[in-house]
């Protein structure tokens, strides 16, 4: 059996055509709902596998002062273009209150001073951005568990939603406002804190002043900055575009452990 030039030419042309179709086809497939669902099914597998491995609640690695990044990149919103927020910022956030409501027994309005008076945790951890870079910073804050216990979580609550002051994408319907949500596996994790200090100083505005979330076993976009309100809900489908967070509404995974 010999390969004649004609057949070879035909094979080459077929391969080139298939290549071109495949490239264009992959772009189109990415936007086809049923195929997107197939791709998205990997998130369930990843999240179940990691939940299994993280069952005993291991901590993310903690580093030393020597490991602190000299430059900690500020990403996403680095300021808040909102009059009320800017008024609060000008007065050093003394009038800022963290509102905790939704499915709780005792809705709260906590000042920074009250949060600072509660139990605190300091941790030097690595911040992993979904883009691929990492920075190491020192965070001090109130464990989310303490705040949730103070408010008393009702039994039907399934998610903790963080509403933020920043609008990352201007939209007419307000869905460009940043928000995030956590399940209780991560909400009650000891390293999940509401941080008010970074590297020993009050949280700077580019990093989310006056309060940001730290969820050390997930990627940076889960760690909402400029938190104004924490809402306990049974379902987040009615919030934003319904997928549990600003970036989740734009195609990113709700489970950001990878």
């Amino acid at each position: 059996m010999q390969t004649d030039p004609e057949r070879r030419g035909f094979l080459m042309r077929t391969a080139a055509l298939a290549g071109t179709l495949a490239l264009g086809g992959c772009d189109r497939l990415s936007e086809t709902p049923w195929f997107r669902q197939v791709l998205d099914s990997a998130e369930g597998a990843t999240s179940r596998a990691q939940r299994f491995l993280l069952g005993s609640g291991p901590l993310a690695r903690e580093y030393t002062e020597a490991d602190l990044s000299p430059v900690f990149k500020a990403n996403g919103s680095v300021s808040v273009d909102d009059f009320d927020y800017q008024t609060l910022a000008e007065k050093g956030f003394v009038d800022w209150r963290l509102q905790i409501d939704g499915l709780v027994e005792r809705p709260q309005r906590l000042s920074l001073a009250e949060l600072r008076a509660m139990p605190s945790r300091t941790q030097i951890t690595r911040h992993d951005c979904v883009e691929g870079w990492s920075c190491i910073g020192k965070w001090t804050g109130t464990p989310l568990t303490s705040v949730l216990e103070r408010a008393g979580v009702q039994s039907q609550a399934r998610y903790v939603v963080f509403h933020c002051a920043d609008t990352l994408e201007p939209t007419l319907d307000g869905t460009g406002q940043y928000y995030e949500s956590l399940g209780f596996e991560d909400a009650y994790h000891p390293q999940t804190i509401l941080a008010y200090d970074m590297n020993g100083h009050p949280l700077p505005i580019p990093h989310g002043a006056p309060l940001r979330l730290r969820v050390e076993r997930q990627l940076g976009y889960k760690m909402a900055k400029y938190i104004m309100r924490i809402e306990l809900v049974e379902s987040f489908t009615g919030i934003g575009r319904g997928r549990g967070g600003f970036w989740e509404d734009r195609g990113y995974e709700w489970y950001a452990g990878i």
Binding site: D27, E43, R61
Partner: protein, 275 residues
């Protein structure tokens, strides 16, 4: 002459199926991986990113009227790579800032979220497929019988390298099995490069780092793991380039058919012509 051309069964069904699934996975993982890389087209060493000291960075400078220039920085040395790395043509006529060009990424346009969806789906498929292949390879004896080089083969490795460089490939009985270079290359891919790519990929996951902190210690940090992941992928690309070249040079149709139907045409070692 009887026996001059003999059709033998070269690849088992399991090897053929897992081979092609693996090939599709690798292509998609490479292209979606470059999409993910483009979100921050720089590599570092250690736990965190020292932004001023990347090992590799694909950047662009604003050339004003002349348009963007693509700049590749490796260990502090810079090269103009306009058109391919750093800045390349997208759908329009202007040079866009992007690490790798659009024809190498999946999707072709900048979309990290979708790139990640492709990457993680096919990463699962690669791991499942690889596990099936490995278990089959051990149980059936395929790994030991077909991939483990014999002492005789290893001793003759110099000869085999020379023959390959002269593009003279084994014929007859010698072609019934893989030659020593094939065996070593396939073993390196199956047992070193692919597992390395998977493990360094997992080390980039903050969830996995909490579950298995040894990953971080083993690879020297998340950013080191990301760099090794890139190198492992580069190694796989190099392997595929050589692999495809060898397939084409040593009888494209015969090789391709053997990996599709399983049948391989054995040519007589003395009289075989070399067309």
């Amino acid at each position: 002459m009887i026996g001059r051309h003999t059709l033998i069964r070269r690849h088992s069904l399991m090897v053929r199926v897992t081979h092609w699934i693996n090939a599709v996975c690798l292509l998609i993982l490479l292209m979606s991986g470059l999409q993910i890389f483009n979100a921050h087209p720089a590599l570092y060493w250690g736990q965190a990113s020292a932004f001023d000291h990347p090992i590799l960075a694909l950047t662009a400078t604003d050339g004003g009227e002349a348009g963007n220039r693509g700049v590749t920085e490796i260990f502090g040395h810079t090269f103009d790579t306009t058109g391919i790395l750093g800045a390349s043509l997208g759908s329009g006529a202007e040079l866009q800032r992007r690490g790798f060009p659009s024809w190498l990424t999946l999707p072709s346009y900048q979309d990290l979220a979708t790139g990640r969806r492709w990457h993680f789906f096919f990463a699962w498929l690669l791991v499942l497929n690889g596990t099936v292949y490995f278990l089959y390879g051990v149980v059936s004896g395929h790994l030991r019988r077909d991939l483990l080089p014999t002492g005789r083969q290893l001793r003759a490795i110099g000869h085999t390298i020379r023959e390959h460089l002269l593009l003279r490939f084994p014929r007859g009985d010698e072609a019934r099995r893989y030659n020593v270079l094939q065996k070593l290359a396939y073993l390196a891919v199956a047992l070193v490069l692919l597992p390395l790519a998977v493990l360094t990929g997992l080390t980039m996951s903050p969830g996995m780092d909490a579950a298995v902190p040894e990953l971080l210690s083993f690879f020297g940090g998340r950013q080191s793991a990301r760099t090794i992941h890139f190198l492992a992928a580069s190694g796989l690309v190099l392997f595929v380039a050589v692999h495809v070249a060898m397939v084409l040079l040593s009888g494209a149709w015969n090789n391709l058919r053997s990996m599709i139907t399983g049948s391989y045409l054995l040519q007589d070692s003395v009289h075989a012509d070399r067309s």
